[in-house]
Symmetry: C2
Subunit: 197 residues, 2 copies
Amino acid sequence: MANDTKERILAAALEMFSQNGYAGTNIRELSASLGLVKSGIYKHYESKEAIWNALLDEMIAYYADHFGSADHLPPVPDSLEALTRLTMQMVNITVHDEKIIMTRKLLTLEQFRDNRARELATKHFLTGLTEIFTHIFAGMMEKGLIRRDDPAMLAFSYTTPISALIHLCDREPEKTEGATRQIEAFSRHFIATYGVK
Amino acid sequence: MANDTKERILAAALEMFSQNGYAGTNIRELSASLGLVKSGIYKHYESKEAIWNALLDEMIAYYADHFGSADHLPPVPDSLEALTRLTMQMVNITVHDEKIIMTRKLLTLEQFRDNRARELATKHFLTGLTEIFTHIFAGMMEKGLIRRDDPAMLAFSYTTPISALIHLCDREPEKTEGATRQIEAFSRHFIATYGVK
DNA sequence: TTGACAAGTGACCTTTCGTTCACTATAATA
DNA sequence: TATTATAGTGAACGAAAGGTCACTTGTCAA
């Protein structure tokens, strides 16, 4: 029996949980947004908490698939300009893709309540990006594009300001364009500081 | 009639709202934590939302009082080492003071729901610190302690990584000590980059 | 064609929520 | 001392929450 309701429920749950939080979301509205009555939900998930857990399972699996292994590391840029290009490409995806935005918001809202959300939040907001750019900066140092320094420290110094502006976009979406420009300016300033001329 | 119940309610509300969010907090528990029965609350505030608004009023006023004007800017450090000292002093307060921690958590949880929380979150997490350190770096450039550069950009580059680690402390308090050390290491690395030897 | 089953409905249940209200105890005021 | 306002109690209320269940419908396999 061809049916995608189970996944549509998760999509709707992501939307509502990321907007109103877990406690602020009720099953009636969630069902209604899918065009069904609330008891219908329980044919697919046994409880509100089960929906939450399934959603987190999916998010954790997605993260592991896309950022979890060294296979998915982006290629090391071969010029300073290419570093900014790569950065802006990643940033533009992350601040405009609705699903990614909702994922961040959800992790923001539930990080203090749920341990798995807490862990994933730290990866999403801090360690994940830092690891990727540690690899990138190490590679660029090898190539002589960036001054020899601690690549992890540079990655941390590079990604956390960008992360701060991404959070600003989540909070005040009307500032997205300005924040994006500021990220680019920051990237160029960073390169001016650490890049080898 | 000497009574501080009204303020004790706000203190308890800060505690519960910052832990469970507005929607996840109920008046029964809130009252119980103060040793009174839930109807007693309504002698002091007319509704749950009124408590929320009063709490936000207080937070906004507190912020304006303590960080709102140029009067409260810290003195410009007169050595590179003093910059790290000042930084660590500010950080140690902010990651150990329970009330400040709860304020950040509350803003984190309610930034998408309430417009005033949204604005205050941006100040707390981004623009506030950046402004303070723009002033500091401008002053240190004047004194020849830091290489001439855009002070606002340096302030942004300096404060947002620190902010990211403060958020980590809020999320995973057991990492507070490690994060503090990392902030100090970052501060010294920053100085090694931008400081004038 | 029929039987089985998955998907969806609508009425209903229990619990919990925020809120109200009549009442009591207390302590300052006239 | 009598009065009055304040702080707090406990029972009750309606609304909304999460969840159950008997039932209908539509689809596929035998």
